[in-house]
C-alpha cells in the first residue's frame, strides 16, 4: 500500500470514529473508554512482528515485553468492559 492509500484509510476512519462516538450514549462513556483501551492494544500486531522476527535479540525481547503488556490490556480491557456492560439493566425484573 502506498502512503496516500494508507492516509485515506486513516482520514476516513477518523470520520467514522467521529460519527460512531457521538452516537454512544453518555451512560456508556466509561465502558467506551475501557473498550477503546482494549482495541487500541491492536498494537500487539507490531509487538508480535518484533517478537517473531529473527535478527535482533534486543528487538525480540522488546517485542515480547510489548506482547505481554498489550495482552494485559486486551484481556483485561475486554473482560472489564463485559463485566460493566453486564450490570446495565432495565427496570422491572426484581424491583417491580
Amino acid at each position: 500500500m502506498d502512503f496516500i492509500a494508507i492516509l485515506s484509510i486513516f482520514v476516513l476512519a477518523c470520520f467514522v470514529g467521529y460519527f460512531v462516538v457521538w452516537s454512544v450514549t453518555p451512560a456508556l462513556h466509561t465502558p467506551l473508554m475501557s473498550v477503546t483501551n482494549a482495541i487500541s492494544s491492536v498494537i500487539v500486531v507490531g509487538a508480535l512482528i518484533a517478537a517473531a522476527a529473527a535478527g535482533s535479540p534486543t528487538a525480540k525481547w522488546l517485542g515480547l515485553v510489548a506482547v505481554a503488556l498489550a495482552s494485559v490490556n486486551i484481556f483485561g480491557g475486554f473482560a472489564v468492559t463485559a463485566r460493566m456492560l453486564a450490570m446495565y439493566k432495565k427496570k422491572e425484573r426484581r424491583d417491580a
Partner: protein, 469 residues
C-alpha cells in the same frame, strides 16, 4: 523485505475485517442492549488481527510469544475480575499507560530491527517516511505512558490530587515539545541511535510535566485525552506497518478520546487549553473563611426521611463523594424503600460528576439501579421545578447556582443542575468546611429551601434507610 513487497490479498482483507469489527464494537455502545454484542465483536476483531499476524510471519519464538500472552492475559483477567467499580478511573489510566509503553517498545524494536518490519530501503537504511512515523509513534506513546502513570497515581491517591505548579512550566513544556519535533525532523536526515533515544526520553519527560500540574477534578478531561493519545500512537505504528486494522483502530480511539475530552470541557465551560495549562483549583483556600460563618439549616436523618417519604418525586444527584464513600448500594436501598412508598425516584447525572466520563452511571448500574431511571443533565434539568426533593449526595460544584448568576465566579457559565428549583434540597456533605474542587463556596447551602445533612455519605444514607424501614 521492502515497502514494495505486497502482502497477500487475504491478509489485507483480514485486517480490514478486524478494523470493521472494532467499528461495530463502538457502534454497539449506542445502547446497553447492543453493547454486549459489540464487545464480543471487538474480541473477535482482536483475535483475527493476532492470528493473521502470526500466520503470515515466520515465527521463530512461538513458545516465548505464547508465554507472554498467557502471563499478560492472566494478569489482565485477574485484574478485570477483582477491580472495584469505584476504582475504574485508576484502572483505565493504568491500561492507557500499558498501551503507551507497548507503542514505545514496538517503536524501539522497529528502530533496532527495521528489516523485520519491512521498512528499509535497498541500502538497509530506514525509509524517511517510516522514521517520521516511528518518531511520532514513540513520542506519543511515551507521553501516553508517563502521563497515564501520573494520572493513575493521582486517581489512586498515591499522589496529591492538588495541582503541582512548577515555575516557568509553560516555557519548559513548549521548549521540550519543540525539541521533540525538531529531533523527529532531524531523525529523517540522520538515523543515529542518540537521536532516537533522546527524543524518547524527552517524550517521557513531557508526559510527566504535562499532567503533574493538572488537578484531580480535571481528571475526566485528562483521562479522555490520554485515551485519545493511546489511539494516535497505535495509528502512527499502523502507518509504519501499513496495517489497516491498526490505522482504523487508532483513528477510532483517537477520535473517541478527543470527543470525550471535548464533551468534558464543554461540561465545565473550560477550554481544552486552559485544562492542559493546569493549575485549576490551586487557590482553593480563598474565601471559605467568610463562608463558614453564614447561617444554614441543618437536618437529621429523621428530617430527611420524613421529607423524602412525603414527596411525590425525588431526584438524586450523585457525585464523586458518593463514589468515595461507596454509598451507591445503600442509596439504591433508599430508593427502593421510597418507591414502595409510592415516590417517583430519578437520578440526575452531570457529565463531569466523578473522575471519568460515565463514572456515576457505572456505579449506579453496579448497585442495580435500572438505567432508564438515570438521566443526563439536558434531559432532566427542566424537571427540578416540579420536584419535591432534590437529594444531592457527594456532588457540589455541579449544583452551584453561582455558575448561572455570578460573573466573578470561576465556574461561571458552566452548565449546572438546577437543584435549587426543587421544593427542598437535601444536601449530604461531610462538613461545612470543605469546598468543591473549584474552590468556590456554594450559595446553595445557605438558601431557605436547603437542608444540610452533615455526615459521611454512606452513614447518612444508612440512617435514612433505617428511618424509612
Amino acid at each position: 523485505m521492502h515497502e514494495g513487497v505486497a502482502q497477500p490479498a487475504w491478509v489485507l482483507l483480514a485486517y480490514l475485517i478486524a478494523g470493521i469489527c472494532f467499528i461495530l464494537a463502538l457502534r454497539g455502545l449506542s445502547s446497553p442492549e447492543s453493547s454486549r454484542r459489540g464487545n464480543r465483536l471487538g474480541m473477535i476483531g482482536m483475535a483475527i488481527a493476532v492470528v493473521t499476524t502470526l500466520a503470515i510471519h515466520e515465527v521463530a519464538s512461538i513458545v516465548e510469544i505464547a508465554g507472554a500472552i498467557v502471563i499478560g492475559g492472566g494478569i489482565g483477567l485477574v485484574t478485570a475480575r477483582k477491580i472495584q467499580m469505584t476504582a475504574m478511573p485508576q484502572l483505565v489510566a493504568a491500561f492507557h499507560s500499558l498501551v503507551g509503553m507497548a507503542a514505545v517498545l514496538v517503536g524501539a524494536a522497529a528502530f533496532l530491527n527495521p528489516d523485520a518490519f519491512g521498512i528499509t530501503d535497498a541500502a538497509g537504511a530506514i525509509l524517511p517516511v517510516s522514521r517520521v512515523e516511528i518518531g511520532l509513534g514513540v513520542a506519543i506513546g511515551a507521553i501516553t505512558f508517563s502521563g497515564s502513570v501520573i494520572a493513575f497515581l493521582k486517581l489512586n491517591g498515591n499522589m496529591s490530587g492538588a495541582p503541582i505548579l512548577l515555575p516557568g512550566r509553560h516555557i519548559l513544556n513548549l521548549g521540550t515539545l519543540a525539541a521533540i519535533l525538531g529531533l523527529i525532523a532531524y531523525f529523517t536526515q540522520d538515523q543515529s541511535p542518540w537521536i532516537f533515544w533522546t527524543l524518547t526520553a524527552l517524550a517521557f519527560a513531557i508526559g510527566f510535566l504535562l499532567i503533574v500540574p493538572i488537578g484531580g477534578a480535571d481528571m475526566p478531561v485528562v483521562i479522555s485525552m490520554l485515551n485519545s493519545y493511546s489511539g494516535w500512537s497505535a495509528a502512527a505504528m499502523g502507518f509504519t506497518l501499513h496495517n489497516s486494522a491498526m490505522i482504523i483502530t487508532g483513528a477510532l480511539v483517537g477520535s473517541s478520546g478527543a470527543i470525550l475530552s471535548y464533551i468534558m470541557c464543554r461540561a465545565m465551560n473550560r477550554s481544552f487549553i486552559s485544562v492542559i495549562a493546569g493549575g485549576f483549583g490551586a487557590v482553593a483556600s480563598s474565601g471559605d473563611a467568610a463562608a463558614i460563618d453564614r447561617p444554614y439549616k441543618r437536618g437529621s436523618a429523621e428530617d430527611a426521611a420524613f421529607l423524602l417519604k412525603q414527596a411525590e418525586q425525588v431526584i438524586i444527584v450523585p457525585g464523586y463523594g458518593m463514589a468515595v464513600a461507596q454509598a451507591q448500594h445503600t442509596l439504591r436501598e433508599m430508593a427502593d424503600l421510597l418507591k414502595k412508598e409510592g415516590v417517583r425516584v430519578k437520578y440526575a447525572i452531570h457529565p463531569v460528576a466523578g473522575r471519568m466520563p460515565g463514572h456515576m452511571n457505572v456505579l449506579l448500574a453496579e448497585a442495580n439501579v435500572p438505567y432508564d431511571e438515570v438521566f443526563e443533565l439536558e434531559d432532566i434539568n427542566s424537571e427540578f421545578a416540579q420536584t419535591d426533593v432534590a437529594f444531592v449526595i457527594g456532588a457540589n460544584d455541579v449544583t452551584n447556582p453561582a455558575a448561572k448568576t455570578d460573573k466573578s465566579s470561576p465556574i461561571y457559565g458552566m452548565p449546572v443542575l438546577d437543584v435549587e428549583k426543587a421544593r427542598t434540597v437535601l444536601f449530604v456533605k461531610r462538613s461545612m468546611g470543605g469546598v468543591g474542587y473549584a474552590g468556590v463556596d456554594n450559595e446553595l447551602f445557605y438558601r431557605d429551601n436547603t437542608m444540610m445533612l452533615l455526615a459521611d455519605a454512606k452513614k447518612m444514607v444508612e440512617e435514612i434507610v433505617k428511618q424509612l424501614g
